[in-house]
């Protein structure tokens, strides 16, 4: 798909983060938890309409399984105690639904650069469990322009400026390098 190859060409900070996350297979996940909790809190603050669409689901548990990482994300986006945890394993019987695919693709999906149905048709994305809940999640996430990088930067407060500058500089270098090839 055009959008897919386009996004694949650009080395976004998130894709860099994917590589950086790989060593996590060797490390404990505990240090990641506060970051994930903060990321979810920021997303809820920045995109209230997205989470309002999820309310109809009660307290669903989505297991997001990036097949290229050695852990899964257990996400309870709605209800009284929303949470996002990285876990090595989970009892999938507890899950409302399981969504499986490579992490960069899942991020592109979250940010609206890829179409979920197209990925499903091409079998790159797999879904198990409550199809209706997955559809609500997909439609909710798609209802606003989510930019994970900007949202995560928002957590960092004064550090955001230098980090954004570094990411943009890096992108400029990568784009120039791609163009020169």
């Amino acid at each position: 798909m055009a959008a897919r190859s386009k996004s694949a060409e650009k080395l976004s900070p998130l894709k860099v983060a994917t590589f950086l996350m790989r060593p996590l297979s060797l490390m404990p996940l505990a240090p990641l938890q506060p970051l994930l909790a903060a990321a979810l809190a920021v997303m809820r603050r920045q995109h209230p309409a997205v989470f309002e669409r999820l309310d109809e689901l009660g307290e669903p548990l989505f297991v997001i399984d990036p097949i290229d990482l050695p852990f899964i994300f257990a996400m309870r986006p709605a209800g009284l105690r929303p949470s996002l945890l990285a876990q090595r394993e989970i009892d999938t019987d507890q899950a409302t639904a399981i969504i499986r695919g490579p992490l960069p693709m899942l991020i592109d999906l979250l940010e609206g650069r890829l179409d979920g149905d197209a990925l499903f048709f091409s079998r790159e994305l797999s879904v198990e469990g409550d199809t209706e809940a997955v559809l609500v999640l997909r439609n909710a996430v798609d209802s606003d322009e989510i930019n994970l990088f900007e949202d995560v930067l928002a957590i960092l407060g004064p550090l955001a400026g230098p980090l954004r500058f570094a990411a943009e500089a890096r992108n400029a270098v990568v784009t120039g390098w791609n163009a020169a090839r």
């Binding site: 669409r53 149905d117 559809l135």
Partner: protein, 334 residues
């Protein structure tokens, strides 16, 4: 009555299931966006999809700021004895500044004529008006300005219709393909009790299950297995009309393969047939789909209006089952 004699540039009517999709459609070059409220008053009543009243008002403002129009689909058939939600939807569409409503039910058309005479009316595909007598009836009785034609007519039939009706026509050019006459298909109703006509959903997600069985992806609707896809096979929606069934020992698609309509190569013929507007299906699809398909059709419509050759635009990866068809426009029924 032939409007094709003064063929104008085709109007591009694009889907929006969410506010972000509306903005994506407008930014990608939509002339018009169509959408629905978050309830069973429209034929894409999918969970988590569609617009609140506030979102519609904001969406109309965004579209109008960018010289685009907004049409509100209120195109299911009201519940017997309880049409209030549908009446409310018409009232709210007008209050939010919608440019027109897309209606199917004659009772709702009559209500709109009586109570909201200034609100422009389009006839939904769900009304399945496919001959000149039916279309003239809707034009005469309810002053509809445009009819969305069912996906069962050839280009020649559309041209003949346009010669004999006093209203604009809008035709589907891309997206999901209903192979039965719209508004009259009962397959989903038979299996799930819910239909596009009454509840706004065909094969509702609440009744759908996908299971991995060995190398196969098995799709089920209620108690029925609709399809089983091999490891390297593109998947499709679990709609009965595109199911693969075993009949007398042989397995095949009985009505239609998993496929999507794509009439991008036929824009010139449709323009010559007197069509006013082209509709892209897919309010239930993501905004990535909206951006890609609308951008492609924007280029194609602009090229067609200049009499230029069609640009090479590959959208095969967005189609159901990875396949597309020109559907009934070039009819080759089995």
């Amino acid at each position: 009555m032939n409007k094709s004699l003064t063929a104008k540039k085709l109007e591009l009517v694009c889907p929006a299931g969410t506010p972000a999709s509306l903005r994506a459609a407008v930014d990608a070059g939509a002339d018009t966006v169509y959408l629905g409220f978050r309830d069973e008053t429209n034929a894409r009543n999918f969970p988590g999809l569609n617009f609140s009243r506030r979102e519609l008002a904001d969406g109309v403002a965004y579209a109008h700021d960018h010289n685009a129009k907004v049409l509100v689909a209120i195109n299911t058939f009201p519940k017997a004895g309880d049409p209030e939600a549908w009446h409310q939807a018409v009232r709210d569409a007008e209050a939010c500044g919608a440019d027109a409503v897309i209606l199917a039910d004659i009772g709702l058309l009559a209500y709109t004529v009586e109570h909201h005479p200034k609100l422009r009316r389009h006839l939904s595909v769900q009304a399945s008006a496919s001959n000149k007598e039916a279309i003239r009836f809707y034009a005469r009785e309810f002053d509809v300005k445009r009819v969305v034609l069912p996906r069962v007519l050839t280009v020649e039939e559309i041209a003949a219709l346009n010669d004999n009706i006093p209203v604009e026509t809008e035709v589907f050019v891309f997206g999901g393909l209903c192979v039965m006459a719209e508004g009259r298909c009962s397959l989903s109703s038979y299996v799930t009790g819910q239909s596009p006509n009454m509840n706004g959903v065909c094969s509702p997600a609440s009744h759908v299950r996908y299971e991995e069985v060995g190398d196969q992806l098995v799709s089920k609707l209620g108690e029925f297995t609709i399809n089983s896809f091999g490891e390297d096979e593109a998947a499709g929606y679990p709609t009965l009309c595109k199911g693969r069934f075993s009949v007398e020992g042989s397995v095949s698609y009985l009505f239609e393969d998993p496929t999507s309509l794509n009439a991008i190569t036929m824009l010139d013929a449709l323009m010559k047939a007197g069509v006013t507007a082209l509709k892209i299906e897919g309010r239930q699809r993501g905004r990535a789909y909206v951006t890609q398909v609308v951008s492609a059709f924007r280029q194609a419509v602009d090229a067609a209006s200049r009499g230029e050759a069609m640009p090479d635009l590959d959208m095969s990866l967005l189609t159901e089952g990875g396949q597309d068809t020109t559907g009934a426009y070039q009819k080759t029924w089995r």
